[in-house]
Amino acid sequence: MNRRCASEFVSGLTLALALGFGLASPALARDQIRVVGSSTVFPFATAVAERFGRSTAFRTPVVESTGTGGGLKLFCAGVGLQHPDVSNASRRIKKSEVEQCFANGVREIVEVRIGYDGIVIANSKRARRFELHEEQIFLALAKQVPVAGKLVPNPYRRWRDIVPTLPDFEIEVFGPPPTSGTRDAFVELAMEGGAKKIPLLEALRARDKRAFKALAHAIREDGAYIEAGENDNLIVQKLEANPAALGVFGFSFLDQNGDRLQGSLVGGRTPSFENITSGEYGISRSLYFYIKKAHVGVVPGIVEYLREFTSARAMGEVGYLADKGLIPLPAPELRAQRDAALALTPLSLP
C-alpha cells in the first residue's frame, strides 16, 4: 500500500512534467480563427462568429475582448499562427499602430467598417428626462471651465448651476475609464464638440490646437464623474439604484433596457436607432475590424468569416447585428465595404 503510494507519487510527477513540456509543440497547428480587440465590437463579432461556426464546416472562431488598443497591439505583433488573425476596433487604426504593424512584418491589413455605435447619456425612468446640449455636457464634466472669461477648476455642483432649466440634481455621472474606447469616443465627440461651442475655447482652438485638446479632453476628477469600469451592465444597475445619476454607455445597452432607462436628448435629438443612423444624434462613432492578409489561406475560413460578417443578413439594415444594437451602414456604403473587403484591398497609409 505504502509502496504503491510512493510509486504513484513518482509516476504522477513524471506525467505532470510530460504534460508541461512534452506537449508544447502542437501549438503550431491552428484551424480556428482568432479574433481580439474592442469590447464594444465584441457583442457583434461573437454573434457573427457563432453563426459562422454553426452554418459552415469551419470551427467557431475564438473571440477575445481585449480593448481596441490591446487588440491592435496583439494583432500588430507579427505574422504567424501564434498571432491573432482579426482585430476589432471601436476607432480607426492609428498611424502609429500601422507603423508598428509594418515594423513587425504585418504589411497588408484589410480594413472593414461595420457600422456605427451611438454613445448615450441615460438616466433612470423614475426621474425626469435630461435635455442636454454638448456645451452643457462639457461644462458639467470638464476639469477646467471658462467662467467670466477665465479658466477655473470646474465650480458646478448641480445641473441647475449650469442652466436653470436642467434638473436640480447633483452632477453625478457614471462612465467608462480611460482605457475604454467608449471613453475616447465620448471625450472626442461630446466633450470636444461641446468645447467648440464655447467662444472662448473656440478662440483658443484657433490659436493653439494642442492646448485646446488638452483642455477639452480633461474630465474632472473631483468625484462628479465616476469611473464605473468597463462593465456597462454595472452602470445600468447603478442608475436604477440612483435616479439622480446619469450614465454614459453604448447604445445596445439602452436598447436592451428601454423599460428602465431613458436616453437623454443631446442637441434636441433622442438617441434612437433612426437618429443615430441618420447622423442627427451627434455622439456616434464608426466601428471597424482589421484582417491580416498574410493569414488568409493559412488559417482556414478567414474569407468565409469576412463574407458572413459583411453579408446583408448580418450587417444589413435588418440584419441580426442590428438586433444586437449595431447601427448599420447605409446600403451603398455597406456594398462598398463588402466589395473592398472581399477583394482584400489592403489599407494604404493615410
Binding site: 508541461g20 463579432a45 457563432e50 452554418s55 462593465n231 428601454g258
Partner: protein, 437 residues
Amino acid sequence: MTEPRAADARPNTLRRTRAGKQSLARRYAAERRFRSYGLLAIGFALLSLALLLGSIIHRGLPAFIHHEVRLELHFDPVLLGIERATAPEAFAFADCEALLRASLQSFFPEARERRARRELFALLSAGAGFELCATLAAQPALLGSRGARSLPLSSDADRYFKGEVNAALPESERRLSDRQLAWLDALAAAGRIERRFAMRFFTGGDSREPELAGVLGALVGSFWTLLVTLLLSFPVGVAAAVYLEEFAPKGRLIDLVEVNINNLAAVPSIVFGLLGLAVFLNFFGLPRSVPLVGGMVLALMTLPTVIIASRSALLAVPPSIREAALGVGASPLQVVMHHVLPLALPGILTGAIIGMARALGETAPLLMIGMVAFIVDIPGGPLEPASALPVQVFLWADSPERAFEARTSAAILLLLTFLVAMNLTAVLLRSRFERRY
C-alpha cells in the same frame, strides 16, 4: 489558587457590600454586552450570506426554466432546398428556417407585410433552425413527413412568459411590440407554449443567444484546467513540503526558501497571470486560451498553499512515530514513505482540495493568457481553446441581453455548488481520517 481562603472569602465580601454588588453587576452586564456583540456579529454575517444567496437564487432560478413552442412542421425537401438527401452533410445547407417560417405563417396568416413577418419570426430563437437541421441530419427518414416539434422561443418571448416583461409600458420601451405580445398570447391560448426544464443550460457551450447559452464548455474547460493544476501542483508541492520538513538541513538558505514560499502565498493572482503571459506564452510559445497554460499558471498560484498545508500536516505527525520507525531499522526514506506521509495524507489532501477550490474560482490570471474569450466549441482536451466557469460568469455579466442576468446568477449558483462540494469533501476528509495523538 495558592490562597484558597482568600478566594473563598472574596465572593462573600463582593456580595455583601454595596460597592461589591455594583461592581459585580457591572461585570455581569459587560459580559452580557460582549456576548450580545458576538451574537450580533454572527447574526449580521449570517444575514448578509442569506441575502446574497437569496438574491442569487431568486435571480438565477428562472434560468433553469425555458419556454418552447410546439409547431406543426412539414419536412418538405423542396422548401428545405434539398432534393432527396443522401449525405448527412447536405443538411448543413438546408434552409431549416424556411420550415419554421412556413409553420408560423400558417398559424398567423394575417402577418403578411415584411415588417410583420420579421417580428413574427423574431419570436423564435435564432438557434431553432440549427436545432431542426441537427435533428434532420440525425434522422434523415423524417424528410417528407409531417410532425410536431418543440422549438425554443427567443429570450425576449421567454421573458414575457416568465412575467418579466411589463406589457403596460409604451410599446417603444419594450423589446416586444404589441403585435408580438398578441401573437404570443394567441400561441399560449392554443396550448402551443410549453414550460420546460432548460436542458440547454447544461448541455450547451457559450452562445450570444441567452436561450442557447450553456455552461458545459466552461465546465469542461475548468475540468481540464484543474486537472493540469492538480497534476502539477500536488506532486511538486508535496515533494517540496516533504523535503523541507523531513530532509532539509536547517540553515539560512532554507529559511530564505520558507520566507519566499510564505510570501508567494500572498501574491495577488493577476501577477501569476502576467508571469504566465511572459514565460509560457511569449518565451515558450505555448498557444493562447488553452487549459494547459491556464492550469500551469494556476498551479504556480496554488503551489504555496499546497506546500504550506502539507508542511503543517507533516508537522502534526508526532516525532515518536519517526523515532520508532528509525529504531526498528527503517531508512529515512522508508520512514517518510511508509509512516509519515500516509499519516499526513488526509491533511495534505485537505490542503490540496482547498487550493483547487481557490483555483476554480479564479479569473484574473486567466485574463492575461486569453482564457477570457468567447468560445462556443466544447474543448476536447487541454490543448483546445477553453474558458472556465468563473470566466463564463464574468462574460455573461457583461452581456447586454437582459436574459443573461438570470444566466449569470445560475452560473454563479453552479460555481458555488462546486466550491461547497469541494470544501465539504475537505472537511469530511479531515474529520474522517485525521488522527489525534
